[in-house]
Amino acid sequence: MEGESIIAIRDLTKYYKGSDIPAIDHISLEIFRNEIFGLLGPNGAGKTTTISILSGLFPPTGGEVTIDGLDIRHDHDRIKYIIGVVPQELALYPTLTGLENLQFFGNMYGLKGKELAKRIDESLGRFGLEKYARKKIAHYSGGMKRRINLIAGLLHKPKVLFLDEPTVGIDVQSRNVILEFLHELQETGTTIIYTSHYMEEAEKLCTRVAIIDTGKIIAIGNPKKLVEENPEFKNLETMFLQLTGKGLRD
């Protein structure tokens, strides 16, 4: 699947302070509009670092990145309007209700009034949370927290959505709702960049995946094609294990 590029990464490098080992080592890739792009890799491979740089949390040490033609170093403020970020942590206020959290984050994107209320209602309905809108986040289950965490990053209808392990630690039902929704989102024209440890999930969901290890891309392509092109692997998971090794990662 190739099309119009929305994210272009050239020679991206990141060294954390005090470390001489690169967290990202000269990565170059293009992500196309309307893709669900999976960044896969063991712990410490560089997935979250890549997403953090793309979403503007901190600058790269080297290389260039453009999102929808905007440079992340110079057009950071404009990029914030077109991206949505769903961090790995539950980035919500636990003492506020689900509704209050969504109203606040919607307001921060400049959304207000009926338009915001409509988007919140629709999203809560889609994720089966309308009954819990007025409950404090602290009282939500893990799955509910993940779902509302996702909604908070989507209210402003971003062109590009970054998801850092959005289905980690939740029940099968909640995971299913989230994955179905991501498919729907893709159909409406949103580009999704997503990290995960779940190979089966990535295989089903992603149009393309990149397997990263020690800050380098070691395989990239459509998951099904990658497996087909390498018949020695049964599926994406065996391929992943073969490429990244079976040793434990911390």
Partner: protein, 433 residues
Amino acid sequence: MFKFFAAFRKEWLILIRDPAGLIVLFLMPTVMVVVLSMMQEFGWSTVSKEPHIPVIFVNEDRDSLGVKFQHGLTETKLFDLILDLNGVPVTKETARQQVLEGSYQIAVVIPEHTTERLRKKIRFLVSQTMANLMMPDQQFQSANQPKDSIEVLIYFDPAVRNYFRNAFLSATKEFNARIESRMIFETFQEELRKLFPNFTMPITEYTQSVFFTEIFPSGVKEELLPSTTQHNVPSWAIFAMFFIVIPLTSSILKEREEGSLIRLMTIPVSYMTVFMAKVGVYLLVCFVQFMLMLLAGIYLLPLFNMPALEVGTHYFAIVTLVIMSSLAALGYGILIGTVSKTHQQAAAFGAVSIVILAAMGGLWVPVYLMGNVMRHIATFSPLNWAHAGFLDLFLRGSTFLDIIPELLKLFAFFAVTISAAAIYRTIKPPISS
């Protein structure tokens, strides 16, 4: 502005969702102001008003000097003279023992024949003076000149506060001067009567000829008497208000720990908007806190037999000063919360630095009592600026215009600290990079 109000609403909701925390936030500073003001009031009243410092008084003299001393000390109402212990008259030795044991802080012993010795000494001085007056060409050297010194013994507990000691010493010296001057007059009269039998000299009690009038330099006729409440309530209220740093830093660090700060960093909203929303909400808290503390000074302290706080009539100046002091405290809190990595760091540094700034700023020890270097350093403490402003308003009858320098300094401190926090946050993101 819309984003500011949205963030303000969020901060407000988070604050009111913790009613226990809110009660602590309002109640503790008020309790602190009342308790500490009471403690200082009692400490101060022991030397200033009618405190009745217990003093063991042993009169072995049993003549006029001892009796007058006893009357004089009683009349001052500063001291409670203890003449016997459990019905047994106190002796020189028991007095010494009692002070040694720390049961009493001061004991005074007028030894036997003190009056007689003083009389002799004065008589010698007067007769010598008279002789010199009558025959100025002759030098009189009397062999009868009293050699022994007259000594009144005063025992002090080494732990006694200096101001107790000074108060007692100055009182005793003053009585001694009065008694001596009266004796000199009487002796002169006796000597003159030897020459002029009909001579009479109106000997009255020593009366003061020079009066000391206390005038406030501001020239305002109806000045407020500088009661301890006037000093203590503003001092402790400012000190308590700056402790807003602790809940404020906690709010900032919680936002970081809960991950919502990471989301905020990816949203088109500036750090300044986020900070200002916090400032807005906590400014309300500080304002209510301060008003509660003032109300406690006005209505609660009199219930404990303490003078009520008089706030004067410059309400606009007071409100502006409260706002500016609060802003200074909040700017400081935002900066500490932004720079600190953990709650422990923020709480420890925040609390200790406020204590240092308060001590430095003259909240506990007046700046004029400090050494030159400390006096200079005091001018850098925002607590000193706030304190100076309140003393001006509550004690010196100053107006809004008079406290403008303090207001400007407090606002500048707020502007510098909050800008430093925003710059720091921009340069150093809250996640490791």
